[in-house]
C-alpha cells in the first residue's frame, strides 16, 4: 500500500535536471515571437499608435494595433486591441512580432502610443458612494436582526485587505501552431480541457481540432485557470502570419493581464450569548470589480458554512474601478475568512472565553445555511490535535503577559476552511504486454503532486511497484478530466484513475485464472491477491507475475473509466506564535502548528507540502504581501518580485502539519477530499490574533507592516 505514504515526487528528478519541458521551452521550426506593448493609462482612449520605428527594427514581421489586430471575441473576458477604449492600466495596446524575442522586445519599446486620458478610480476608497449589490450576492438565514437583538454581547468591526497577484514562478507562456484549421497550443494552463473549449470557440472550429498541452506547470494559484486574451491573440497572429508563434509574459506584464485577488473590505458583526453561543453573524463585504466584468464568487462561504449560528446574513457588494478584472487566487475565501476569524478572536476577549473553546462551542456537523449534514467533519479533532501539539493549554490569555528580552510573545489561532470543486473526470489505464502500466488523463499537475499521487493510486489498485507505473497528464488527447483549480484535482480525478486501474486488474486476473498455462488457473478471480507485481493464490502458495500473464496474452489490456465526486469542505485549525519587538514594530512568526481534516491523506509528503506552502504564503499575506497601486494612475508600482514581497525562508519557522486522516465516506477519491486551499485561509487571522495577544494591539488592515505597530 503506497497511498498515504510520504512517497517522493515522481517528477522531481525531471524538474531539477531540466528534463521537464514547460510551455516556454517549446521552440518550433519557423517560429515567430510576439511581444506585448502595455498601455500606460487606466481610463480613456488610444488616439494614435505610431509603429514606424518599431517596424524598422530588423527582423520585425508585423506590428498589430487596434487598427489591424485580428478580430476576436471572448465570452469570458474583455478582449483588447478590438477598439480604442482603455479600461485599466497595463492593457494590451499593441503586439510586435519578430523572428527573435529580442527584436520583438526592442520593437515594442519603440511603439509610440498617445492617449486621451480620463481620471481613473483605483481603490475602493475612491468610489465608496458607488458600492452596489450585484445579483444573487445576498444570503439570509433565519432572522439576523432578531438574532442581534437577542445577543448579550456584540462585536462589529471593519477589516480590509489589499489586492494580491498570483506570481507563479513560471511566467505565463503560449505557443500556437496551426495546421490548416487544426490548432496545437502549448499553454501554461491549469485546465487543458477548458482551454481547448475556449480556443475552439474563439476560432469557431470544432473542439476536436484543438490540442492543448500543459505537461508541467510552475504553479498557477488560479491565475492560469482561464485562457487569457493574450493567448487567443497569439494564436490568431500565428494563423494570420502562417507560422507558429510564441509569447512569454514578463513578470511585470503579469500584473495587469492575468488577473489578481481583489481589494476587499469586510464588516463583520457577531452577536453572542455570554456562554459564547452565536445568535447572529452578519458579514458585509465589498469587493473591487472592473469596468468590464462583474466577476464575483462565494468568498464569504466561511461565514455561511463554518459555525453553528441560526441567523446569518452575508452580503457581497461590489464596486467598479478602473482596474483589471480580479479572479480566483489561491484560497478565494481567505480575505473574508480573515474578517470572520479576527472578529471571533475579538469576541473571545469580550466574553473572556478561550478562542479555541469559543469555536468549539459553535461547532456544527450541519451546514448552517442549508441544514444538510456534512458527509464527515472532524474539526473538533483538529482543535484538539493542534492545541495539544502546540501546548495551547499553557497560554496565559492576558495580552502582553509574556515577554522574552525585548520581545513580546503572543499565541494566536484560527479555524481554517475552504470548500473544494469536484468535476466529472475520466482516465485511461493501460498495461502493456511487458507488464508496464501507463495512465493518461487530461488533468494537470500544477506543482501539487498529482503525478505522484496518481502513480500511487494506480500502483496500489493493480498491486505493482511504483516504478512500473507511468502517469501522463496535461494533454487534451487524453480522456477529459478536471480543471486544476478550486482544490479539485485529486478530489475529481482520483476515482476515475482508480476505477480504470481496477478494471485493468480485473481483466488481467481473468486472463490468468482462465488460462490453463497459468499456475493460478481455475482459482476464483475474486480471491486472487495482487501485490508487488504478482498475482497470488489466497494462501500465497501459487503465484504468477503480471509480466508473465501479459507476455502470454501478447497484447495490452486497457480501460477508460469516468467518475464524479461530491464537492466537499476541508477544515482545520492553525496555531501560531509570534514575537513582536515593540521598539521597531517588528513581528516574527516563530512557531506554527496546523491540524487538518482533509479526508483521507493520499501522500503525507505532498499534503504536508501544501501546509508548508499555505502557511508560508499566509505569513507573507499577513506581514508583507500587497500590490501597490498608484492612486492617481491606477498603475501597479511594484510589478516585480524585488518589491512585491513574499515570505522568504528566514520568515518561516518550522511548521508542523497534523492530519486527522479519516476517509470521507462519500468521496469517490478513495476517501480523500480536496485540500490545496485550506491551509492558508486562517493563517493571517491567526497571526493578527497572536499579535494582539502579544501586544494588546489589534490591526485590522492587512498586511501588518511595522509602521502599523509603532
Amino acid at each position: 500500500m503506497t497511498v498515504g505514504q510520504p512517497v517522493e515526487r515522481v517528477d522531481g528528478r525531471a524538474k531539477v535536471t531540466g528534463d521537464a519541458r514547460y510551455a516556454a521551452d517549446r521552440t518550433l521550426p519557423g517560429m515567430l515571437y510576439s511581444y506585448l506593448v502595455m498601455g500606460t493609462i487606466a481610463r480613456g482612449r488610444v488616439t494614435s499608435v505610431d509603429t514606424a520605428a518599431a517596424r524598422a527594427v530588423p527582423g520585425v514581421v508585423e506590428v498589430f494595433t487596434h487598427e489591424n489586430a485580428p478580430r476576436l471575441t471572448s465570452d469570458q473576458h474583455f478582449m483588447p486591441l478590438q477598439g480604442t477604449q482603455i479600461h485599466y492600466n497595463g492593457q494590451i495596446v499593441a503586439i510586435t512580432v519578430a523572428t527573435t524575442p529580442e527584436q520583438a522586445q526592442e520593437a515594442a519599446e519603440l511603439v509610440r502610443v498617445t492617449y486621451a486620458p480620463e481620471t481613473p478610480k483605483a481603490v475602493i476608497a475612491d468610489a465608496l458612494t458607488e458600492v452596489y449589490l450585484p445579483a444573487n450576492q445576498e444570503v439570509i438565514v433565519g432572522d439576523p436582526t432578531a438574532g442581534l437583538a437577542a445577543a448579550e454581547v456584540t462585536v462589529t468591526q471593519n477589516y480590509s485587505s489589499p489586492p494580491h497577484h498570483h506570481n507563479p514562478i513560471e511566467p505565463h507562456a503560449t505557443v500556437a501552431q496551426w495546421d490548416g484549421d487544426h490548432l496545437t497550443v502549448h499553454e501554461t494552463s491549469q485546465g487543458v480541457v477548458n482551454a481547448q473549449r475556449t480556443f475552439a470557440s474563439a476560432f469557431a472550429i470544432p473542439q476536436t481540432n484543438v490540442r492543448v498541452l500543459a505537461p508541467y506547470l510552475g504553479g498557477g494559484f488560479g491565475g492560469k485557470s482561464p485562457v487569457w486574451p493574450h493567448s487567443l491573440l497569439n494564436a490568431a497572429i500565428a494563423r494570420q502570419l502562417g507560422r507558429p508563434a510564441k509569447m512569454v509574459l514578463t513578470r511585470a506584464q503579469m500584473y495587469s493581464i492575468v488577473s489578481h485577488r481583489a481589494e476587499f473590505r469586510q464588516q463583520v458583526t457577531l452577536g453572542a450569548k455570554r456562554d459564547g453561543t452565536l445568535t447572529a453573524l452578519v458579514h458585509l463585504s465589498t469587493q473591487q470589480l472592473s469596468r468590464t466584468s462583474e466577476n464575483m464568487y462565494s468568498h464569504s462561504i466561511s461565514s455561511r458554512m463554518l459555525y453553528a449560528c441560526p441567523n446569518i446574513h452575508t452580503r457581497q457588494q461590489g464596486v467598479r474601478l478602473d482596474v483589471p478584472t480580479s479572479r480566483f487566487m489561491r484560497s478565494p475565501q481567505m480575505a473574508s475568512h480573515f474578517g470572520l476569524e479576527t472578529a471571533l478572536d475579538e469576541l473571545s476577549y469580550q466574553l473572556g472565553i478561550d478562542p479555541v473553546e469559543l469555536r468549539r462551542r459553535n461547532y456544527t456537523d450541519v451546514n448552517p445555511t442549508t441544514g444538510e449534514r456534512f458527509s464527515s467533519r472532524f474539526l473538533l479533532d483538529c482543535y484538539k490535535l493542534g492545541a495539544d501539539a502546540f501546548g495551547w493549554s499553557r497560554r496565559n490569555p492576558k495580552p502582553g503577559s509574556t515577554r522574552d528580552g525585548h520581545e513580546f510573545v503572543g499565541w494566536g489561532m484560527a479555524t481554517e476552511a475552504h470548500d473544494h470543486n469536484a468535476n466529472p473526470s475520466s482516465a485511461m489505464v493501460r498495461m502493456a504486454a511487458d507488464g508496464t502500466v501507463l495512465s493518461q488523463t487530461a488533468t494537470q499537475d500544477i506543482g501539487t503532486g498529482t503525478y505522484t499521487v496518481f502513480t500511487q493510486v494506480v500502483a496500489d489498485a493493480l498491486g505493482v511497484p511504483l516504478n512500473q507505473v507511468k502517469v501522463e497528464l496535461g494533454d487534451t488527447n487524453f480522456p477529459p478530466a478536471a480543471l486544476s483549480a478550486g482544490s479539485g484535482t485529486i478530489a475529481s480525478v482520483t476515482g476515475a484513475v482508480n476505477a480504470a486501474a481496477l478494471a485493468v486488474r480485473t481483466a488481467v486476473v481473468q486472463l490468468a485464472v482462465s488460462n490453463p498455462a497459468s499456475p493460478l488457473h481455475g482459482l476464483p478471480a475474486e480471491q486472487i491477491i495482487t501485490q508487488h507485481g504478482y498475482l497470488f493464490s489466497p494462501d500465497r502458495s501459487r503465484r504468477e507475475s503480471y509480466r508473465a500473464v501479459m507476455a502470454r496474452h501478447g497484447a495490452p489490456v486497457q480501460n477508460t473509466s469516468s467518475m464524479t465526486n461530491a464537492r466537499g469542505y476541508s477544515t482545520g485549525a492553525v496555531f501560531v506564535e509570534v514575537r513582536v519587538d515593540p521598539r521597531y514594530g517588528r513581528v516574527r512568526v516563530t512557531r506554527g502548528v496546523g491540524a487538518y481534516d482533509a479526508g483521507r491523506v493520499m501522500n503525507h509528503k505532498t499534503a504536508g507540502s501544501q501546509v508548508i506552502g499555505g502557511f508560508t504564503w499566509g505569513i507573507g499575506n499577513a506581514l508583507m504581501e500587497h500590490t501597490v497601486l498608484d492612486r492617481r494612475t491606477a498603475r501597479v508600482v511594484n510589478p516585480n518580485l524585488s518589491t512585491y514581497l513574499l515570505a522568504v525562508n528566514a520568515d518561516v519557522p518550522d511548521i508542523q502539519a497534523i492530519f486527522v486522516n479519516k476517509p470521507d465516506p462519500v468521496s469517490t477519491a478513495l476517501g480523500a477530499r480536496g485540500f490545496g486551499e485550506t491551509p492558508i485561509t486562517g493563517v493571517p487571522a491567526a497571526i493578527g490574533n497572536a499579535i494582539f495577544h502579544a501586544t494588546g494591539r489589534r490591526i485590522r488592515d492587512l498586511p501588518f507592516t511595522q509602521d502599523k505597530l509603532l
Binding site: 502595455m38 500606460t40 519599446e109 498603475r635 510589478p639 528566514a650 511595522q706 509603532l710
Partner: protein
C-alpha cells in the same frame, strides 16, 4: 532592450579608454545593471566588462584596509580584517540582498546601484531621474519607501545601498583611476538634477576603497529594519561607530539608510553625543537632531519615528545603555 557591444579589457587603462565612448557602461556583477536594462530604465550601446581587471584584493597595510572594487560582497563580509576592524561593513553586507547576489555583486557596483523607486524602474512612467524634467510621480503618489531627508521637489528616491551607509560611517575614501574622493563627497543629493547621483565622471572607474583602521570603526554596528526578515532593502537602517572614554562619548559616527536620498551622515546627531555621556536623554536628543529637517509625504511619515527608534535601539546595544 537594444543590441549592445561587449568588450572585456585586461587592464585599467584599456577599460577607461573604452568607457569613454558616449553610451558605454562598466559591468561588474551585473546584478543591477542588467535589471535596469531589461526594465528599460537604462539603455547602453557598449558594455565594458571589468571582471578581468585585477581589482579584487582585500589587504590591510599601514593602518589602512584597502578593498578592491571587484571584491565580491560575500568575500568582503567574510574577510577577517573587515570583520575585526570594520564590523559595521561586514554586518551591512550580510544584511544585503541574498547569498546568490552577494556572490555575484562587487562592492564597486554596490555603491553605484540605483534606487528601487518603483516609478524609476517602470518604463511606462515618467520620472525625473530617468528623464530629467518629466516629473516625479512619487511626490504625490506612492512614497512609503521614499526619503524624508535630502529630498527635493524633483526627487525623493532613497539610495538603496547598505554598504554605502557603512562605508560612510568608517570614513572610507573612494579610489578611482584618476583621484581619491572622500566617501562623504561621493554621493550627491538630487537637487534639480536627480539623474546625477555621484561625483564620478563619465567613464571614471572605481578601483577600490581605503578605510582607516581606528578604535572608532572597530566598535561599530549596523541595524537594518525591513518588511521581511531577509532579501529586502532597508525601510530604515542605522550605522553607528562609537568610541567611549568611560561613560563619555569621545567620538561617534551616525549614518543612515532608507531615509535619505543619499547615504546620510548626521553631524547634528553626532554633536548631540560627542563629549557627553551616553544616556537616554542624549540619545533622544541625537534622534531629534537627526530628523529636525525631515520632510514627510503621504506615506512615509512613520520613518521619522522609526529611524529615531532604530538609532535609540542601536546606541543602547552598542553603548550598553539600559
Amino acid at each position: 532592450m537594444k543590441n549592445f557591444t561587449y568588450a572585456a579589457p585586461r587592464n585599467v587603462a584599456d577599460a577607461v579608454r573604452l568607457a569613454g565612448q558616449p553610451d558605454a557602461r562598466f559591468i561588474a556583477g551585473g546584478t543591477d545593471l542588467l535589471n535596469l536594462m531589461k526594465d528599460g530604465a537604462q539603455s547602453h550601446g557598449a558594455i565594458i566588462d571589468i571582471n578581468g581587471l585585477a581589482l579584487g584584493d582585500i589587504v590591510q597595510r599601514n593602518g589602512v584596509i584597502r578593498i578592491g572594487a571587484l571584491a565580491r560582497m560575500s568575500d568582503v563580509a567574510a574577510h577577517p580584517a573587515v570583520r575585526r576592524s570594520l564590523p559595521v561593513v561586514s554586518e551591512a553586507l550580510l544584511n544585503s540582498a541574498s547569498p546568490q547576489i552577494r556572490n555575484m555583486a562587487a562592492v564597486g557596483g554596490n555603491v553605484l546601484q540605483r534606487t528601487r523607486c518603483g516609478y524609476f524602474r517602470d518604463s511606462g512612467t515618467t520620472c525625473n531621474k530617468k528623464a530629467p524634467g518629466s516629473g516625479c510621480p512619487a511626490l504625490e503618489g506612492e512614497n512609503r519607501g521614499h526619503a524624508v531627508l535630502g529630498g527635493s521637489d524633483h526627487c525623493i528616491a532613497v539610495h538603496p545601498s547598505d554598504l554605502a551607509v557603512a562605508l560612510l560611517a568608517v570614513d572610507a575614501v573612494v579610489l578611482t583611476d584618476r583621484r581619491r574622493i572622500p566617501f562623504a563627497d561621493f554621493h550627491v543629493v538630487p537637487g534639480t538634477t536627480p539623474d546625477q547621483e555621484t561625483v564620478l565622471g563619465h567613464g571614471e572607474l572605481i578601483t577600490g576603497f581605503e578605510i582607516p583602521v581606528t578604535p572608532l570603526a572597530a566598535r561599530s554596528r549596523y541595524l537594518k529594519l525591513r518588511d521581511r526578515a531577509t532579501f529586502e532593502f532597508a525601510v530604515v537602517a542605522v550605522a553607528a561607530a562609537l568610541n567611549m572614554r568611560g561613560n563619555t562619548v569621545r567620538d561617534v559616527r551616525l549614518t543612515f539608510g532608507g531615509v535619505a536620498t543619499k547615504p546620510w551622515r548626521s553631524p547634528e546627531a553626532e554633536d548631540a553625543l560627542r563629549g557627553k555621556p551616553l544616556t537616554t536623554t542624549t540619545i533622544t536628543e541625537a534622534g531629534r537632531a537627526l530628523v529636525r529637517g525631515a520632510v514627510t509625504r503621504d506615506h512615509n511619515a512613520f520613518k521619522v519615528d522609526l529611524v529615531q527608534r532604530a538609532l535609540d535601539g542601536l546606541l543602547r546595544d552598542l553603548g550598553g545603555v539600559r
